[in-house]
């Protein structure tokens, strides 16, 4: 292995990301290589330099901005859940062909019901024939005499 490879191992060593057997080989190399010892010192110095700066703190006004918006979002979602589902407020989406088939069935069905409720012609006392039609929508009885 070259010193470049060992230097990469040094970086992993200070992060505790080196396997025991790799660390052993590295320590043996470090005992004989001044360049790599300097590299180890250099990365340790860098770590200490980076750690000296106080971390930037989130400004206080962020608390209000973020927590207020999340509270509002939370309340809005709770309100949405509280509204019960009504058929007339709900929307049903269907493909056009399915909707057309349903409409045809509804119209045909209503006509069938209408014709099924058509009454037999009854003779009236005056000798004329009376017919009664009962339609479905709207439910209306129609009385009439022939002719």
């Amino acid at each position: 292995m070259t010193c470049d490879t060992y230097e990469e191992q040094i970086s992993a060593l200070i992060d505790h990301e080196l396997k025991d057997e790799e660390a052993e080989v590295l320590f043996v190399h470090l005992s004989t290589c001044r360049t790599c010892r300097r590299s180890l010192q250099s990365v340790l110095d860098l770590r200490s330099d980076l750690g000296e700066q106080a971390p930037p703190m989130a400004p206080k006004e962020l608390d209000e901005k973020i927590l207020k918006r999340t509270r509002l979002a939370h309340r809005a979602s709770k309100d949405r859940k509280a509204i019960p589902f009504h058929l007339w407020t709900g929307r049903i989406s269907l493909p056009v062909t399915v909707a057309a088939i349903i409409m045809v069935f509804l119209i045909a069905g209503s006509l069938m019901v209408s014709s099924m409720t058509k009454q037999k012609l009854l003779p009236s006392p005056e000798g004329r024939v009376e017919a009664v039609y009962i339609t479905t929508l709207p439910a209306v009885e129609v009385h009439g005499n022939f002719p």
Binding site: E7, S11, V43, L46, P56, M57, D63, L67, T70
Partner: protein, 185 residues
């Protein structure tokens, strides 16, 4: 309440969303802000990225599959928000091209040579390209392991290891030369 683990905190949010989320926010706000600030080098942009991060966490909390990975999930969202802002400021190609280049841009050394060592270190960190800066920040300030950094950045562990080595080596050299220049003045 303060001693809740991340897993317990996730459970808490499921039971009491408002209070649980406030707890999560207070636990992570400084870390997320510091991460965004160091990455973006701009206080207002860091604030915007932090705000968007927490709003996204709130909106998509149900998408968190493993409560044990809350920390890496939070940082991966923060990373996305920070990079969105970075991309807005710079074309994507600039961020993704020149993989071998470690330095983002050269700042005027004269303006900072008189400052204290810590300020020079931070300036030096800010000169690194975002891809190198972010791994160094996640490791040195957030103490994430290589596998956690890999989860946050979407890179492989070996790529993280290599990027960290490269970032440290280059930054160490740059720091030495900047310090020498300052001392010579």
């Amino acid at each position: 309440m303060q001693t809740l683990t991340d897993e317990q905190l996730v459970e808490r949010i499921k039971v009491d969303e408002a209070r649980g989320f406030a707890h999560l926010y207070h636990r992570y706000k400084h870390r997320v802000y510091a991460y965004c600030y160091r990455l973006l080098r701009h206080p207002q942009n860091a604030e915007d990225a932090t705000q968007e991060t927490f709003l996204k966490i709130h909106r998509s909390f149900h998408q968190l599959e493993n409560p044990g990975s809350l920390q890496t999930w939070v940082f991966s969202i923060a990373r996305n928000e920070a990079f969105t802002i970075l991309r807005r400021a710079k074309p994507v190609e600039e961020l993704e091209q020149a993989e071998n280049e470690v330095w983002d841009e050269e700042g005027p050394l004269e303006r900072i040579v008189e400052r204290e060592r810590a300020a020079i270190v931070q300036h030096c960190l800010s000169l690194l390209k975002p891809a190198y800066r972010e791994v160094l920040i996640l490791r040195e300030y957030e103490y994430l392991s290589y596998s956690e950094i890999a989860k946050v950045t979407g890179a492989s562990e070996s790529a993280v290891k290599s990027a960290l080595f490269k970032a440290r080596k280059t930054m160490g050299k740059k720091l030495d030369s900047m310090m020498n220049e300052r001392d010579e003045r």
